[in-house]
């Protein structure tokens, strides 16, 4: 069982802010809940090549896969949580079967469902997400326990040299909410415009 107690693990906000600072050009997709707050707290409204999910639980990774296959000359990063990843766990197999070089999946893992009252998740109860990702066949997996390792993650993102799965062991703590815009249509259109695409 993973031994993450409430005050152990990395500071999620700091890790995400440090990562985003090193990957300014990467296309970022967030899973719903706290990971989207972490990204928005660091990215703010100006970072238009960022797509925030407010629902569609389990969809962050497959959405990131479709994006990575379409935009092969850009780095694509999915930032999500353990609960969201677990709901779409099979998508790691779908990713592995495609293995686009430009896709990195970053799971902020506190072993809990943070949005709904910190109930233990499967990863908190013993599931090893890095082993699962490797078992599905994702070529590179990293487990991050030191905030100094954010540079290693950024290097993989920017290199676009192989699909990478990153499990970041974060502290199970509530942060102030930083709510990204909830207008999915506006987010979609701004994102596409940032890539030079029309609305439809």
């Amino acid at each position: 069982m993973m031994d993450v107690m409430p005050n152990e693990g990395l500071d999620r906000r700091r890790f995400v802010a440090d990562l985003l600072a090193e990957i300014p050009d990467a296309l970022v997709v967030t899973g719903l809940g706290s990971p989207s707050y972490d990204v928005f707290a660091a990215a703010g409204p100006e970072r238009e090549h960022t797509f925030y999910l407010w629902g569609a639980m389990g969809g962050a990774v497959p959405l990131g896969l479709g994006l990575a296959l379409a935009a092969r000359d850009r780095s694509v990063v999915v930032v999500t949580g353990d609960g969201e990843q677990l709901m779409g766990i099979g998508a790691l197999g779908t990713v592995a079967a495609q293995s686009p070089d430009n896709l990195t999946i970053v799971v902020l893992d506190n072993g809990h469902f943070g949005e709904t009252g910190m109930q233990p998740s499967h990863s908190g109860l013993g599931a090893d997400l890095t082993a699962i990702a490797a078992g599905f066949g994702i070529p590179t997996t990293l487990r991050i326990t030191d905030s100094e390792d954010v540079g290693r993650v950024a290097k993989h993102v920017n290199a676009r040299s192989g699909t990478t799965f990153v499990q970041v062991l974060i502290a199970a703590e509530d942060k102030p909410r930083a709510l990204p815009p909830r207008d999915g249509v506006a987010n979609k259109n701004a994102f596409r415009a940032a890539l030079g695409h029309s609305t439809f």
Binding site: G59, G66, L67
Partner: protein, 177 residues
């Protein structure tokens, strides 16, 4: 069915519409009725054939492809529509263009009663989630119907499902040998 209709390779017609329309990603959970498109996608250097573990992944993948500037479609069987229901929210919330081709079970000469509950609810489930449903049961109407759906999706930004009726696919052979 007329002899001429019986000779139409409707499965090839489906793929031809997708290919001519510039589809770059074809996501699927396999079905015999989609076999031609899946094989053709796998053989086509300009198309990614993406095998899914569950159909809802395909809903999100199609949205991601669109964000990145590509056209993608989802191929599935009627049972898979049930797996997608909450993920369809993504299409509505973001108004993603969405085309899915659904091979039907549980509606015509169905041997397996376990297919019936979802097969008989497929059209209503799609419509409840805001997806327009077109249906085709004759081989000579497949090309035109899929093409019409394709244009609604990619020229007008709509969400459309084409149900490929079980009569098209024919009776499933269950006897051994």
């Amino acid at each position: 069915m007329t002899q001429a209709a019986a000779e139409i390779d409707w499965q090839q017609d489906v793929f031809d519409v997708l290919k001519e329309g510039g589809v770059s990603q074809i996501a699927y959970v396999p079905d015999a009725g989609h076999a031609t498109s899946i094989r053709a996608a796998q053989a086509d250097p300009d198309i990614r054939a993406v095998v899914l573990t569950t159909e809802e992944e395909g809903v999100a993948l199609v949205g991601g492809a669109w964000l990145g500037g590509q056209r993608a479609v989802l191929l599935m069987q009627s049972s898979g529509v049930g797996n997608c229901v909450n993920m369809f929210s993504l299409l509505h919330s973001c108004r993603f263009p969405f085309l899915t081709l659904v091979t039907m079970r549980g509606e015509y000469a169905e041997f397996n009663p376990w297919q019936n509950p979802m097969g008989l609810a497929t059209q209503r489930a799609l419509e409840l989630m805001g997806i327009t449903v077109l249906r085709v049961d004759r081989p000579d109407q497949v090309r035109d119907t899929v093409s019409a759906a394709f244009d609604s999706v990619f020229l007008a930004g709509e969400r459309v499902a084409v149900l490929l009726g079980q009569r098209l696919i024919g009776r499933k052979k269950w006897e051994n040998g």
